[in-house]
C-alpha cells in the first residue's frame, strides 16, 4: 500500500488535520515558537529594555556562544546542575513510595478511601503552599521539627535544627518537601493502574500458588507498566523543572547551595535582567530534559516492540 492512499484515507487525513489545526496552532504559538525564540535569545545579550536584539557575534568580535562559554565557567551553573542531578536521583524515590501507598490502599473499604483522600490532599495544594508549610516545619528556633527533636532529646536546649541553613543539607529538605505531594500523585496514577489489572491473570497465578513477592514482581509490576511509564516521565520532568518550592523555601540559598537550573534561569533573567544568559540556561535545561526523555521513551518502545 506504500505511496498510494485510497480516496477515503486521504479524506480522513484532511479531516484529521482540520481538527488538529486549532490545537496545533496554539501549541506552535505557546510551545514551539518560544523554544526556538529562547534558542535565538541565548545568542544575544538582551537586557530586556533595548529594542534591538542582535546575536553577539554580529557587528562585534565576540563569539555567538559567549553566554555558553560564560556558563561553562560559572560555579553557580555547575552547582545548580549538580543539584538537579540530586533531584533526579532522590526525587524519584517518591515513585516507589507512591506504589507502596497504592498497593496498601488498593482495597475496598471506607477507611481506605478516607486515608487515600488524606494522602492525596497535598497534591491539591499549590506548591507555594507546600513550600510555606515545609519552611515552617523545618524552621530553626520556631519550627515543628526542631520542637519534636527537642522533645525526644535529639537536640539539646541551646541547639538548633540547622538543616535549611546548611549548604550540604538544604537540598535534602527541599526534596523531602517536594516528594510529599509527588508521592501522592504517583499513588493516584498507580491506583488507576491497579484498578485496570486483568483479574484472570492474577487468579490464574493464585491457583498456581505463587508467593506474594513473585506476584508483585512477575505479575503486577509488568501489568502496571503503562502507569510506570507515566510516573517515570512526570517524575523526571518534576525533578528538572523544580522551581516554585525552592523559590519559596530557600530562594536557592544559602549562597546558591540549593539552586537549580530552572530557578537560576529565572534569577538571571528577571532579577539580573540578563535575558540572553537566562535563555542559555533554559536551552541547556531543555537539552537535558529532551535527552533524558528521548532515551527513556526509546528504551520503553524498544521493550514494547521486543515483547509483542
Amino acid at each position: 500500500m506504500a505511496g498510494s492512499l485510497s480516496f477515503m484515507q486521504r479524506r480522513d487525513h484532511k479531516t484529521a488535520w482540520r481538527f488538529l489545526a486549532p490545537s496545533l496552532f496554539l501549541y506552535s504559538l505557546y510551545v514551539i515558537f518560544p523554544i526556538f525564540f529562547s534558542m535565538y535569545l541565548s545568542l544575544t545579550q538582551w537586557d530586556g529594555v533595548s529594542s534591538q536584539v542582535l546575536p553577539l557575534c554580529i557587528g562585534s568580535d565576540s563569539s555567538c556562544f559567549q553566554n555558553f562559554i560564560d556558563l561553562w565557567q560559572d560555579d553557580v551553573f555547575w552547582m545548580s546542575l549538580k543539584n538537579n542531578i540530586a533531584w533526579l536521583l532522590f526525587f524519584s524515590l517518591s515513585a516507589p513510595l507512591g506504589l507502596a501507598l497504592a498497593l496498601l490502599f488498593h482495597v475496598k473499604a471506607r477507611a481506605a478511601s478516607f486515608y487515600k483522600s488524606l494522602l492525596f490532599m497535598p497534591m491539591v495544594f499549590s506548591l507555594v503552599v507546600v513550600g510555606t508549610i515545609w519552611s515552617w516545619f523545618l524552621q530553626p528556633e520556631f519550627g515543628l521539627v526542631e520542637f519534636l527533636l527537642k522533645g525526644v532529646g535529639l537536640l539539646g536546649a541551646g541547639e538548633n535544627f540547622t538543616m535549611m541553613a546548611s549548604e550540604r543539607w538544604a537540598t535534602a529538605g527541599l526534596i523531602a518537601a517536594a516528594a510529599w505531594p509527588h508521592a501522592a500523585y504517583c499513588m493516584v496514577l498507580y491506583l488507576a493502574g491497579l484498578s485496570n489489572l486483568q483479574k484472570n491473570v492474577i487468579e490464574a497465578a493464585e491457583i498456581e500458588g505463587v508467593s506474594k513477592w513473585q506476584m508483585l514482581w512477575f505479575i503486577i509490576l509488568p501489568m502496571l507498566r503503562p502507569a510506570t511509564i507515566i510516573v517515570v516521565i512526570v517524575t523526571m520532568i518534576g525533578a528538572l523543572r523544580a522551581f516554585d518550592l525552592i523559590s519559596i523555601m530557600t530562594a536557592g540559598g544559602p549562597a546558591n547551595s540549593s539552586n537549580v537550573l530552572a530557578l537560576y534561569m529565572y534569577q538571571q533573567t528577571f532579577e539580573n535582567f540578563r535575558y540572553g544568559y537566562g535563555a542559555a540556561i533554559s536551552v541547556v535545561l531543555f537539552a537535558i530534559s529532551l535527552l533524558l526523555i528521548l532515551l527513556y521513551l526509546k528504551q520503553t518502545l524498544k521493550d514494547e516492540t521486543g515483547r509483542s
Partner: protein, 408 residues
C-alpha cells in the same frame, strides 16, 4: 486583583493616548503596601484640590512585578509620572535617555534639599528624580539584655561593639540577630563596614563598578567583619530565617542587637517597646568621616510622557516641605526636604534625622548602588562569608570576576 490592575493599566494607557489634551495625569506607583498607599492617597487628594481640572489616574502595581514590568512600559508606553529608587537603579534608565531632567522644578525649592540627598538624584550634573522620603539604618538593641550582660552604654566604636558581642555571648544571648534567607540583610554589614573602613568615596566608586573587590582595601573590610563573625556574634541558623523571623529572636529576648532599616521600628511588639533603642553604626577608623545608608524613594517623569506639563506641576508639588511632611506623617519615614517637620516624640525618627543630617555621604544600599548582577553575586557571597569567613578570598574573587564582566 492583579488581572484587574493589568486591565486598568491597559485602559489607562489607552485613555492617555486618546484624551491627551484634556488635563490628564497618569501615575504608575509601586507603593502597594497599605501604609505607603494611604500616604500617597493623602497627598493625592491634596493635589486634586489644588488642581481640580487635572484628571489624575493612578495604577498601583505590586513591588516585584513593577520592577520587571517597568522595563517594558518605560521605553514604549510610559505614564506621566512613575515611582522608583534613587542611585544606580535610576542611573540605568537615565543613561538610556528614558528620564526627563527636573532642574527647573528644583529651582523653586533651592536650598531645601541636603547635598547628600541631591547627590543621589543627580547624574552628569543634572537632577532627574524627586526624592520624597528616605530612612536610616543602624542598630536596634535591647537595653534590658545589655544590662543583663553587664554592658552599660551603647557601643560607639568597633572595639566596644566587639566586646559587647563577647559579653553577650558569655551571658548566653545571641549578640546580633540576622536573617539571610533573603540575602540582602547581610549586605548592610558590608555597606557600613566598607564605608567606615575605606570611606564613602571609595565605597561608592567600588559599587559603581570602578573599583576592585579583590583589592587590599576590600580585604581589610572583610577582615574587620570577620572579627565579629569569629566571636560567634551571628546565629548559625541565620540562612534559614527571613529578616522578620530573625527579628522575632530579639523580641523573644534571645538576641540583643539587630542592624536594620528603620522600617523595623513599626514592628516592635508593644510588650518590649520600652526596651528597644537605637544606636548608629559605630566608628571603625576615627579619621574617616561618617557616611550613612539611606535608601531613598523617588518620583520621576519618563522622557516619553504625554502630559509633561502636568507631570512637572506634580513634581513641584511633591518637592514642597508641607507636602513631604504630610506624606511622611503617614509613611513613618523621613522627609527629604529639610524644612519638613517630623514627629519629635518618635525617638527613632529623631535619631534618624540627626544621623542623616550629619552624614557626609548617603549610600542607597548595596543592591541599589551596585549593578543587579554584581549585587546578587555579592550578597550571596556575604551570606556564605557569615558561615565561612575563611573563604573570603574565593568570595571576593567571584564578585570581582562578575564585576569585570558586567563593567567590561
Amino acid at each position: 486583583m492583579k488581572l484587574l490592575k493589568v486591565i486598568g493599566l491597559g485602559l489607562a494607557c489607552f485613555a492617555s493616548t486618546a484624551f491627551a489634551a484634556s488635563g490628564e495625569l497618569v501615575i504608575n506607583s509601586m507603593h502597594s503596601d497599605p501604609t505607603s498607599k494611604k500616604a500617597f492617597e493623602t497627598i493625592l487628594s491634596e493635589f486634586k484640590k489644588e488642581h481640580a481640572n487635572i484628571n489624575v489616574k493612578v495604577n498601583t502595581i505590586d513591588h516585584e512585578s513593577y520592577k520587571v514590568q517597568i522595563r517594558t512600559w518605560l521605553p514604549n508606553n510610559p505614564p506621566d509620572v512613575a515611582t522608583w529608587f534613587a542611585g544606580n537603579r535610576a542611573k540605568f534608565f537615565v543613561e538610556k535617555n528614558l528620564v526627563e531632567p527636573l532642574d527647573d522644578v528644583f529651582s523653586a525649592t533651592a536650598g531645601q534639599f541636603s547635598a547628600g540627598a541631591l547627590s543621589a538624584i543627580s547624574f552628569n550634573g543634572k537632577k532627574y528624580l524627586m526624592p520624597t522620603n528616605y530612612y536610616h539604618w543602624g542598630f536596634y538593641y535591647r537595653k534590658d539584655l545589655f544590662q543583663k550582660a553587664g554592658i552599660n552604654a551603647a557601643p560607639k566604636t568597633w572595639d566596644e561593639l566587639l566586646s559587647a558581642a563577647q559579653k553577650l555571648k558569655a551571658a548566653g544571648i545571641t549578640p546580633i540577630a540576622i536573617g539571610t534567607k533573603q540575602a540582602w540583610p547581610a549586605a548592610a554589614w558590608f555597606d557600613f563596614i566598607n564605608m567606615r573602613v575605606n570611606g564613602y568615596a571609595f565605597h561608592m566608586n567600588l559599587l559603581a563598578g570602578k573599583g576592585s573587590y579583590s583589592s587590599p582595601e576590600v580585604k581589610k573590610t572583610m577582615a574587620t567583619w570577620a572579627q565579629l563573625v569569629k566571636v560567634g556574634a551571628f546565629p548559625e541558623t541565620a540562612a534559614a530565617m527571613t529578616w522578620q523571623e530573625a527579628s522575632a529572636l530579639m523580641w523573644q529576648g534571645k538576641a540583643a542587637m539587630y542592624l536594620m532599616g528603620n522600617f523595623i521600628s513599626s514592628e516592635i511588639p508593644s510588650a518590649v517597646k520600652a526596651q528597644v533603642e537605637f544606636f548608629p553604626f559605630p566608628t571603625i577608623d576615627p579619621k574617616i568621616p561618617t557616611a550613612q545608608v539611606a535608601p531613598t524613594d523617588v518620583y520621576f517623569i519618563p522622557a516619553k510622557a504625554k502630559n509633561k506639563a502636568n507631570a512637572k506641576l506634580f513634581m513641584s508639588f511633591l518637592a514642597r516641605a508641607d507636602i513631604q511632611q504630610k506624606y511622611n506623617e503617614v509613611t513613618g519615614l523621613l522627609p527629604v526636604n529639610t524644612q519638613a517637620k517630623i514627629d519629635t516624640k518618635n525617638s527613632f525618627l529623631k535619631s534618624g534625622q540627626q544621623i542623616l543630617g550629619q552624614a557626609t555621604g548617603l549610600s542607597q544600599f548595596f543592591d541599589r548602588d551596585a549593578e543587579p548582577e554584581v549585587a546578587k553575586v555579592g550578597m550571596d557571597g556575604f551570606v556564605e562569608f557569615l558561615r565561612h569567613p575563611d573563604r573570603t578570598d574565593a568570595i571576593l574573587n567571584r564578585i570581582e570576576t562578575t564585576r569585570k564582566r558586567v563593567h567590561r
